[in-house]
Symmetry: C2
Subunit: 365 residues, 2 copies
């Protein structure tokens, strides 16, 4: 596949205040986004892709010829790809609270001229979706297909019930309508590691020493949950890096991998954003807001495609089946596929071939 | 059940140096232990119980009438209990590297007059077992039944191959012959949280501010792995403590539980011991030492009982079955029971009734 080539992250600023679910007001808003393909005359060929916990707007292509890395879901976007840029106007934006261009805790608080830090209001998945809607409106889109994996899947669900008239289709991949107690527990561990870092300084660490170790520990926990024991066994087993050290450095390959993932993460992610985004994910509970999940879906008008992966233990198939049952009960048009994969939760980023087949067929209708 | 009544932790000091697996020398050794019942004339009715990661010598009874808590496996020890004190001389000792009376990183280094801290040598499961053997010899025991859960089960395995002539029977509960990559990963996260605590001070925190937050985070991770999603769902679900806080304090009951478990743990456990003991557990790999697990068991003479629990995902039944296969291949006398339980890895501490039935029948032979 030729790839999408050189792309550019764009920014749009909204000067009017945004009322958040918590009741707090965000005085202004900037959204970082990328688009691929062209919006048609009817403005109904938009395909909004929603990223996972630590993703960004850069879904595909490179930012320059020298760029060594492509976007986070590169294989999915391009001519004849799952998100066919000959047919669709693909949009991806960094989520509210993020640290890749959209307003978040690292942004400048216009009231103080300093970064918000923990003065940034706590946000929710619903707030993120409201922000995405502003972007979609700004781009002049009239109808949209919404696709998200993991946290992005939660947002896709929210789109279906919050904006039923413009949401034509919804694809929810490796996701859930609510986190399990165990998943909340893992997020709490990650947040505690950040809050306990000696450089955290109540969140006011910008321009100073960053809470890198804490963020890195949070990422280590995350990575254990994104893989699965089978994948870790296959990748690392009990292999030593250099034999037993008889000290408390890195001994096993699995430690080396987690350590590396933690260390590279701090270069691209803000610890405060990690706090805000995991909290938003913890809070989300679509069924609870409406009394039940099938009631939540009552007003949805979209066609749904639900995908899960056999080895995903963070958002297991069981949780997708719960959504499936609710959608069937609510008499919605829904398809469900469980894909065989040994890659754990990360499968949605890796198993692009099988997903492409299914998505092409779903999006062809 | 009447219970075992008032018991006393005893201490024995060994002045001769102990050579460790790493090649390092421990200049002196103290062991904290408790005994219940009476050693018979043949000195062959001893039953050595080996504790898990953060356990101690105090398996049953109270230390005084005012003591509010009984030992960690109280229901298992006493007249007519699984470990019948009318028949058996029950021994339990704190493991090497621990912080409940046996020499560990918090003990005084005789060479400096200060606590060892990280000058304490890295120890292994094999070293712990050598120390247990010293105690058993000191008590005059000639034959022993060895029973352990979790980390204690690893030690029980080691007893069977290291001291085959005196080890009559071995019971391995909710354990493994080697940790999975995932379990090593979780331990690495816990150690990183401790090492990153601002009070850690290279392990020299004794008498100063303790690395409580780091140790507490390590314990939170531990507790997620000791339970299972089913147990967490049943215990906490997505219940809030007081409704959403819209800040980064404790929101959900599951967070409150983990937070509490973390906070009470720091009162009874030393962060350095946590480093040393998790490292020992990570290193243990019985099969690797002998080329294969069935070769490891070749010289064992004990009868084996292996028990696992359906919902234990830290040391899953699959790992017990691996030991079972190896024991069968090595033509050993082995029984295996998988017990139904929704309690996760913690089941071995909680499901005492079913274990009692099985242990009574096994120990009656």
């Amino acid at each position: 596949m030729a790839g999408i080539g050189i792309v550019e992250t764009k920014y749009v600023k909204f000067k009017e205040p945004l009322k958040l679910q918590s009741g707090k007001i965000l005085p202004e808003l900037e959204i970082a986004y990328e688009t691929y393909g062209t919006l048609n005359e009817n403005k109904d060929n938009a395909l909004l892709v929603l990223h996972a916990l630590t993703g960004d707007a850069h879904i595909a292509g490179k930012h320059s010829e020298e760029d060594r890395k492509v976007g986070w879901w590169d294989e999915m976007v391009g001519p004849d790809c799952a998100f066919d840029t000959n047919k669709f106007f693909v949009i991806c934006s960094n989520c509210l609270g993020g640290c890749s261009g959209t307003t978040g805790p690292g942004s400048i608080n216009p009231e103080t001229g300093e970064p918000y830090g923990l003065d940034f209001p706590v946000i929710t998945i619903e707030d993120m979706v409201e922000v995405q809607k502003k972007l979609v409106d700004y781009l002049g889109v009239k109808k949209v297909i919404v696709i998200g994996g993991s946290m992005g899947g939660m947002q896709a669900l929210e789109w279906s019930v919050r904006f039923p008239d413009i949401t034509k289709s919804v694809v929810v991949i490796a996701s859930t309508s609510k986190l399990s107690a165990q998943a909340i527990g893992f997020n709490a561990v990650g947040r505690n590691a950040i809050l306990n870092d000696e450089n955290f300084a109540g969140g006011n660490y910008y321009g100073k020493k960053l809470p890198e170790k804490g963020l890195s520990i949070a990422r280590m926990v995350g990575h254990i949950t994104y893989l699965c024991e089978g994948a870790m066994h296959k990748k690392f087993g009990r292999e030593f890096k250099d034999g037993p050290s008889f000290d408390f450095g890195v001994d096993f390959q699995v430690e080396s991998y987690l350590d590396y993932q933690g260390r590279i993460f701090v270069d691209r992610f803000d610890a405060n954003s990690y706090l805000y985004i995991t909290k938003a994910v913890d809070y989300y509970d679509l069924g609870q807001k409406y009394g039940s999940l099938d009631k939540a879906f009552e007003n949805a008008k979209a066609k749904f495609l639900l995908m899960s992966f056999t080895s995903d233990w963070l958002f297991p198939t069981e949780q997708t089946k719960e959504m499936l049952s609710a959608l069937i009960k609510a008499k919605k048009d829904v398809s469900f596929v469980e894909l065989e994969s040994g890659a754990g939760h990360d499968a949605f980023l890796l198993e692009t071939k099988n997903q492409t087949k299914i998505l092409k067929s779903f999006l062809a209708n």
